[in-house]
């Protein structure tokens, strides 16, 4: 056989969406009904940004399918006591019993959907940045049919394990839930720990590789030399959590060591708020009649509304003018003959003291390096050059600054994202070819039409759905346990708002150690967990365990047993990646570097028969809907488009009979027909069978829609930078609301609403917080413990897959604790020694991996491990940083985020 199985052979097309960079389109070879190998879907060559290649994770799906540790029947717990050391007493039960049990619990949550504290009785937790939705079939229609809020605040790691500041501010400023360089055109990237080659998926890897060969230069500024750093031209080993100082110094170089006319003056004057005049109370000076922000017109020598035709607004200087100023809660000041300055001048003043020399000492990097990088960023921006895209002439600005995950969350993240985006505006490299561009919109929406989210709002900017902070509309009573609409206006209240609230805050509230003036929340009466493992992926995991043990009813959809499922009451085995059915959108612009010139739909279909009694998620959803009397509503939600597209429009009607229970194939056939109609402009209405044969269907997507600038120009809109007048007002109003309600425990977070952020000493912040709250000496914790993304594992939930462990072990850092070899030698530690790592909240142990590519004051644990229940993974003895990361209000920033890092000490245990 030579390793090649004989028999009845076929190839089946499907998709992988184990991470946010999906879908990857693949084919699976099936021999005599057994899945044998994964290959790229070569049929998508030329249509997909990377010609249909798939990353390493889908290759694990074969072992996932036949993993002997799979749970293949519904199970129920017989031991009511929950705890790590309690045997749940699992017994197999029928689907009938399982569904009846779950339905009864759900029915008991109705009709009063909220508990006495006003929190939802039903909670749902998932992971993978929402990617499990691409495996849940029509289940979201059940939530939509529920009739009230479902609590999503008990997160598995989001707001700590995400690019949180970028999500919050990127979408406000340029519709960028995530950002990337316009890699095909970019020539110079300054990357602060952005590990794109491990986290960006296949399109990113391909685009980055093409760019490197073309000549793109990259400087990687990070405490340890990552996978991505390997491909960079320079590595600058910066001291952890000092990135804001570096970025502020770059601003200083551009604003104080270069002339203004070296910057992109046209862009600043026409597409940003740089000319807007700032009045004494910190708000825009406005025209008394129209209320419009004023600029200083150099031609007329007076202040005029920002949109006055023919005006040439000043960027620098101080001027005498009059007008009104609108503060918080309707407060208004009238000014006459006051001295005002444009926002650009204010910015210049703001960074005057942030010199490269100052930053060099903080960051532990050479002053000359900071200056060289800033100068190169400016020189490479090609200010004045243009390029034609889709028949339209656009600025060509091939420079971008990228930020990594740990730069993007917790204190200092606002500073970094703000300084980075302002730097992009100074050279006109925002949302133009070659520059920094956004990918998707989740706060503003619609998710798959970024251009449509560019809608005019106030003061020449785009709209943004901030949650209200005015006295009349502020939501004083938290809607869900983390109170996102109450405390974090940035998130809005849309479909993706809850996952952007503070999961750390939610869990701390459950533990009675946050928001002391609010009542401690009750656990949800029903908690559903799917494709995540908070007891591994969140912070202070041991403490989280105690909270979960108190939950009265937990339903876990499971693949294998895991740490969180150990606490469940019912386990349900849903179809895995190769067993279920779902049609989803693909293409356009989406996540990290998904920039397609096509868009359309792709099918996940049963490649092989389900193992055991695993069931399709859509079937499970319909069965539960029927049992709790929501079948009509469930079908109605499918009809209105919860499965991705409405089943009835003016052009077609594929809607389902709402009174009947429909099979998964019937539901997806209708969705396929609607999708076919949409993608062909009404020429076809092919159903499920067509997609099963062909796998996907796409139509052209205009490349011009990769960039927001044309849409901004068409509507004469400006990027809301550099001065954050609106956030300043919102912060003031939020402070008023909270203080009116005697809430002072959010005061530290309120300091994060600066109109232009000042540098904060984050190392001092950590040391102070540790000594104040944990009765330790900060000097005893001399190392920063950091983590790093593993492409082989990230988001995949694949720690049980032998193949992933095997191939991941070829990449330095997996399976142990990375440490600088010279520092280790000084401490008497040798490669392979076991060490104990202790933070203020926990201890773990692991094997040392010595490297030169790590700062001496840093240790690194790649990925997320520390399993004690998950089969296979629990035998890997791989440490995780998560259990050592403290949850404390002092570490939560104004957007609700905290960083996944910790100050630690180490001790050698022996070989």
């Amino acid at each position: 056989m030579d390793g090649h199985p004989q028999g009845d052979r076929k190839k089946v097309a499907t998709y992988c969406y184990q991470c946010v960079n999906g879908p990857d389109l693949l084919t699976v070879e099936v021999v005599d009904g057994v899945a044998t190998k994964v290959e790229p879907n070569f049929a998508v060559h030329g249509l997909h940004p990377a010609d249909g290649k798939v990353c390493v994770k889908p290759y694990g799906l074969i072992q996932k399918q036949y993993n002997p540790n799979r749970i293949l029947t519904p199970m129920k717990r017989t031991n009511p006591k929950k705890g790590r050391n309690e045997d749940p007493g699992w017994v197999r039960i029928s689907w009938e019993e399982a569904l009846d049990t779950v339905a009864a619990k759900l029915a008991a949550c109705r009709p009063e959907l909220l508990d006495e504290n006003g929190n939802p009785k039903l909670a749902f937790t998932t992971g993978g940045a929402g990617t499990p939705l691409f495996y849940m079939g029509a289940f979201p229609a059940l939530f939509a049919a529920w009739g009230g809020p479902v609590d999503l605040s008990l997160g598995a790691g989001g707001t700590v394990k995400c690019y949180h500041a970028e999500h919050s501010f990127g979408e406000l400023w340029h519709r960028a839930f995530t950002v990337c360089p316009d890699t095909p055109y970019c020539n110079y990237v300054v990357s602060f720990g952005n590990n794109i080659d491990a986290s960006g998926g296949v399109p990113s890897a391909r685009r980055q590789a093409d760019a490197r060969v073309r000549g793109l230069r990259k400087v990687q500024i990070e405490p340890h030399l990552s996978v991505t750093g390997a491909g960079a031209d320079d590595w600058v080993p910066i001291r952890p959590k000092t990135d804001p100082a570096f970025l502020m110094a770059m601003l200083h170089v551009l604003l104080h060591e270069h002339r203004t006319d070296e910057l992109d003056v046209v862009f600043l004057k026409t597409r940003t708020a740089a000319p807007y005049l700032i009045a004494p109370e910190g708000y825009y000076l406005r025209d008394a009649d129209s209320g419009k922000p004023l600029v200083w017109d150099l031609r007329q020598g007076r202040a005029v509304p920002f949109d006055s035709p023919g005006a040439d607004p000043a960027l620098n200087g101080r001027f005498t003018a009059g007008g009104i100023e609108k503060g918080a809660d309707g407060q208004t000041w009238t000014h006459d003959g006051i001295t005002v300055a444009p926002a650009h001048q204010m910015l210049t003043d703001h960074v005057a003291s942030y010199t490269p020399k100052w930053a060099a000492a903080i960051c532990d990097v050479q002053e000359a390096a900071i200056r060289r990088i800033a100068d190169t960023f400016l020189a490479e921006a090609c200010i004045g050059e243009t390029i034609e895209i889709g028949g339209r002439v656009l600025p060509f600005r091939p420079v971008a600054i990228m930020l990594g995950k740990s730069v993007n969350n917790g204190w200092g993240a606002y500073e970094c994202v703000w300084a980075r985006t302002v730097l992009q505006t100074l050279v006109g490299a925002l949302e133009v070819p070659g520059g920094l561009i956004g990918t998707t919109t989740l706060i503003v929406g619609p998710e798959f039409d970024r251009m449509a989210s560019c809608v005019p709002g106030e003061d020449g900017f785009m709209t943004h759905p901030f949650s209200p902070t005015d006295k009349e509309h502020w939501q004083s009573r938290p809607e869900v346990r983390h109170g996102h609409t109450t405390l974090i206006p940035h998130t809005g209240a849309g479909y993706y708002a809850q996952p952007l609230g503070s999961s750390t805050f939610a869990w701390m509230r459950m533990q009675g150690r946050a928001a002391e003036s609010w009542v401690k929340p009750k656990p949800p009466e029903v908690w559903i967990v799917y494709r995540c493992n908070p007891l591994i992926s969140h912070s202070e995991t041991n403490r989280l365990m105690d909270s979960i043990a108190e939950f009265p009813f937990q339903l876990s959809f499971v693949y294998t047993m895991d740490e969180t499922a150990h606490f469940a009451d019912i386990l349900l085995p849903d179809c895995t990646d190769l067993e279920g059915t779902q049609l989803i959108r693909l293409g356009g612009t989406h996540y990290f570097e998904q920039f397609w010139e096509t868009e359309g739909w792709v099918l996940r279909q049963p490649v092989v028969e389900p193992q055991g009694e695993a069931r399709d998620f859509t079937w499970i959803a319909a069965e539960l809907a029927k049992r709790i009397g929501l079948l009509d509503a469930f079908n109605s939600m499918v009809n209105v488009g919860v499965c991705g597209i409405p089943l009835k429009t003016d052009g077609y009607d594929f809607s389902l009979d709402v009174a009947k229970q429909h099979s998964p194939d019937e539901i997806w056939d209708a969705v396929c027909r609607a999708a076919s109609f949409e993608v062909t402009g009404g020429k076809a209405s092919d159903g499920l069978d067509w997609f099963k044969r062909n796998g996907f269907r796409v139509k052209p997507f205009p490349k011009l829609s990769w960039y927001l600038l044309p849409r901004m120009e068409d509507q004469n809109l400006r990027f809301e930078l550099p001065y954050q007048e609106r956030l300043h007002r919102i912060g003031e109003q939020l402070a008023n609301r909270l203080h009116e309600n005697n809430i002072s425990w959010w005061d530290k977070q309120l300091t994060d609403y600066e109109p232009m952020p000042h540098w904060k000493d984050l190392n001092l912040l950590w040391d102070t917080a540790l000594e104040k709250n944990y009765q330790v000496k900060a000097d005893d914790y001399p190392f920063w413990l950091l983590t790093s993304r593993s492409m082989q594992y990230a988001w995949g939930g694949n720690v049980t897959i032998q193949l992933m462990r095997e191939v991941a072990d070829n990449v330095i850092g997996h399976g142990g604790i990375q440490m600088n070899a010279n520092r280790a030698r000084d401490l008497g530690i040798e490669d392979g020694d076991r060490i104990e790592v202790t933070s203020a909240v926990g201890t773990t142990t692991g094997k040392v991996i010595l490297r030169q590519g790590v700062r001496p004051d840093v240790i690194v644990m790649t990925g997320q491990f520390g399993h004690w229940k998950t089969p296979y993974a629990k035998d890997l003895k791989t440490p995780s940083l998560n259990s050592l990361v403290p949850m404390h209000m002092d570490f939560i920033d104004g957007t609700g985020s905290s960083v996944d890092a910790a100050k630690v000490k180490i001790r050698r245990l022996g070989r």
Partner: protein, 215 residues
């Protein structure tokens, strides 16, 4: 004449191991047997450190030392340059594994599967007992090449005639083709870029070329 060679562009490789996994799938090798893999190399002293990912495996040498030491003539070389092992003749002495300067050969005496002694369904379907107790290594997916050529396909161009690692490579770091064909992709790559071969000084004349930005 034809000589098939592999070209690995080190500027492109990110060490993702997709090729490693694809090879394991396509050739149904046992756990730990990686005919193709990418090694992670860190050089220098802090803070002057570089990190490079390097795909490795059988170099399909024109003058393969493994063939010279083989007492049973199990190791051979095809006319198209692919170095082969005849499992029926191999006596498992492992001289070849010792002689190979690229550490490209494996010898497994007992089957251990992904989850222990019992194979999962896929492993059961694809298990090849002939490979136990003998030398094994990368074949350049010669069966795919032969099957593809028989159907008029071009190795290195058509996926069905191309090694699985090349097909899978997400950065296009791996390319495959006929170095004797002046129009082939590999000839163009070698003409347009700096390249080196591993252990060139040993005179093995490897059929595996590495592109790099420096001489």
């Amino acid at each position: 004449m034809t000589r098939y060679v592999m070209v690995a562009d080190l500027r492109r490789c990110i060490g993702c191991q997709t090729c490693t996994a694809a090879c394991r799938h396509t050739n149904a090798t046992l756990p730990g047997v990686q005919w193709r893999k990418v090694i992670d190399i860190e050089l220098g002293d802090y803070p002057n450190v570089t990190r490079t990912f390097m795909p490795v495996g059988c170099q399909h040498c024109a003058d393969p030392p493994c063939m010279d030491v083989c007492p049973s003539t199990a190791t051979g070389k095809r006319e198209d340059g692919i170095v082969t092992i005849d499992y029926d003749i191999c006596i498992g002495c492992a001289y070849c594994a010792v002689a190979c300067p690229y550490q490209a050969r494996y010898k497994i005496n007992h089957a251990e599967f992904a989850y222990g002694k019992d194979p999962i369904a896929t492993e059961e379907k694809a298990f090849d007992g002939k490979r136990l107790g003998v030398a094994q290594k990368c074949t350049f997916c010669s069966d795919r090449i032969d099957d593809g050529k028989a159907r008029g396909l071009v190795p290195g161009v058509d996926p069905d005639a191309t090694p699985a690692c090349v097909n899978s490579c997400i950065t296009n770091a791996l390319q495959f083709g006929d170095i004797e064909d002046p129009k082939s992709n590999v000839v163009k790559l070698l003409k347009d870029n700096n390249w080196f071969r591993m252990h060139e000084e040993l005179g093995t004349k490897p059929g595996f070329f590495y592109l790099w930005s420096d001489e």
